[in-house]
Amino acid sequence: MSRGQRILQRIRAFELPIERFVDIDAGRFPAVFMATRNLSRSQLRSALACLGICIGVLAIASLGIFGNVLSLGASDALGDIGNQVILTPNADAGIETIDDSTLTEIERAAGDTTVVPLRTSGGLIEYAGSSTAATIYGIAEPGGVYTASEGRVPDRHRQGALVGASVAEELDVRVGATITVDGDSYRVVAVLEEVETFSPVSPNDAVMLPEDDVGGPGYDQVTIEADSGAEAAAAASAIDTAVNSREEVVDIFELSAITDEINDFFSLLNSFLIGLGGISLVVAGVSILNVMLMSTVERREEIGVLRAVGVEKRDVMRMILVEAALLGVIGAAGGVIATIGIVALLYLVAPIELWILLHPTNAAYLLLAFAIGVAISVASGLYPARKAANERPVDALRS
């Protein structure tokens, strides 16, 4: 049998009346039993109502996941910068460098965080006849901050050069080679691992030399690296009190401020996208309301008979709510499956990392969309159910 024939056969199977392949235990689930039978009588109408919910759930779930993927991707690219505080000399007050006594105060105030003083300059790097411009950092203790892809990053940097990944690639430098930095020769002790996240002190296009070999005295920048954003904020305020109380000596820049703003933006974007999806789900809810209302009006006499022969109001109501809920569950399940398909397609065509798509928060969006889809369906069934259940059987049967 060809693939096409198999699919056709499956579609035909679904066109069979529901009682041919679903036999609900009427004893245990009388409302579900009655509801499935009722839905089976106008399958096209039921299917279209399901389709509405399906599309609504698809819209909420896929837009929600889309926004979430953007947000996760962005915070991944930003890395840990929220945990960093950058201190620079306050140029407005005529201070050009951070001196040793200020650094001591900073280190005392910074607590358990890693304090990395830097000297910065720029220059030409030459090796084997080719050359490139690079940032030159003077750094005393690079071991806590950087890792090597080749060679070893010393805890205390006394001699030799650490070469950033881009510089090393461009000049084709390996550990053990001798490069010329601004006219002085250095042996390469390590090539640094490429850093992909955004960072104010990016090592990729830089060469790191021992502290005393670059500029001085004093430092051009001090980076504080904490374990969390909260710790970074605490360190920043402690430093501000200790160092800047008499005079504004250093500018304090907390990167968590940027990440907070970026996160705020993404949560706004996400709410907006979900709101858009929500509108389509509300439209779908209206179509369920319409279908249920039509169906209860058509079955007016039938419901009157049920009430006459002793079926309670609440059972009639339950039966109709179950119908609406079934439409919702089937539609929402379809929407979830369609969303998974679209996300899989997104993975194939867009450069998104798998772990971002498989992140548990995305599953939460799927569940949320499913729950909202079912809830809207049930809510839409409430009015028709009440209307049908509250009609007096004598009125329903008079016509």
Binding site: P30, A31, R37, N38, K313
Partner: protein, 219 residues
């Protein structure tokens, strides 16, 4: 023993700004196992009387007694329970549910009961009315007479004291109507009261008593 009773029942409706008096002080007592036919022209108040006897509607004045209990002021829920436990209905147009089989239609009054649908009893009742080979047929696969027999079986599923029939022979030809009436006659043999509202003179041949109604008053 009196199974069901109307005491001085009056029923007024408000329609289009003026009041219609459908029943005017009607008294009726029907014994257990009695076959009563209520006859009268259209608009005489027959249907109103059946609705009151079936606890589907409440009288404006007077009382309705069922099995020695005053059912006049029953709440909706009490009336529903009383209908389920004591009364069987046979409607003029059968009113079978098209998505359910004959057997399932008969079980409908018991579907939501705690014990679940009485399938075995439904099958036995369908056998009694000669539909043993039609249990799993949908209503649209049954003839008019067969549908009416399914409706009779449905009215008996709860072992009612009273069966109310609205034009039980209405849309059926004479021969089939006779068989339906014979079936109803048999039911009364088991102590069940049968009250049939009809235009059909044929019904009176089977009834123990005829109650004639004209303009809301007994003749």
């Amino acid at each position: 023993m009196t199974a069901i009773e109307l005491r001085g029942v009056t029923k007024r409706y408000e329609t289009g700004g003026h009041t219609v008096e459908a029943l005017k002080g009607v008294d009726l007592a029907v014994d257990a196992g009695e076959f009563l036919s209520i006859i009268g022209p259209s608009g005489s108040g027959k249907s109103t009387m059946l609705n009151l006897l079936g606890l589907l509607d409440a009288p404006t004045e007077g009382e309705v007694w069922l099995d020695g209990i005053d059912a006049t002021r029953f709440s909706d829920s009490e009336a529903t329970t009383a209908r389920r436990e004591h009364i069987g209905f046979i409607f003029q147009d059968f009113y079978l549910i098209p998505t359910l089989t004959a057997l399932e239609n008969v079980t409908v009054p018991t579907v939501f009961s705690p014990g679940g649908p009485a399938r075995d009893r439904a099958a036995a009742l369908l056998e009694n009315v000669g539909l043993a080979d039609r249990l799993h047929h949908a209503p649209n696969e049954l003839s008019g007479g067969q549908k009416q027999r399914v409706a009779i079986a449905r009215s008996l599923i709860n072992e009612p004291n009273v069966v109310l029939a609205d034009e039980p022979t209405g849309n059926l030809d004479r021969e089939i109507g006779e068989r339906i009436l014979e079936t109803l006659r048999e039911i009364t043999g088991q102590g069940v009261t049968v009250i049939a509202v009809t235009h059909d003179e044929q019904v009176n041949e089977y009834a123990d008593r005829v109650f004639a109604l004209l303009d809301g008053v007994e003749q």
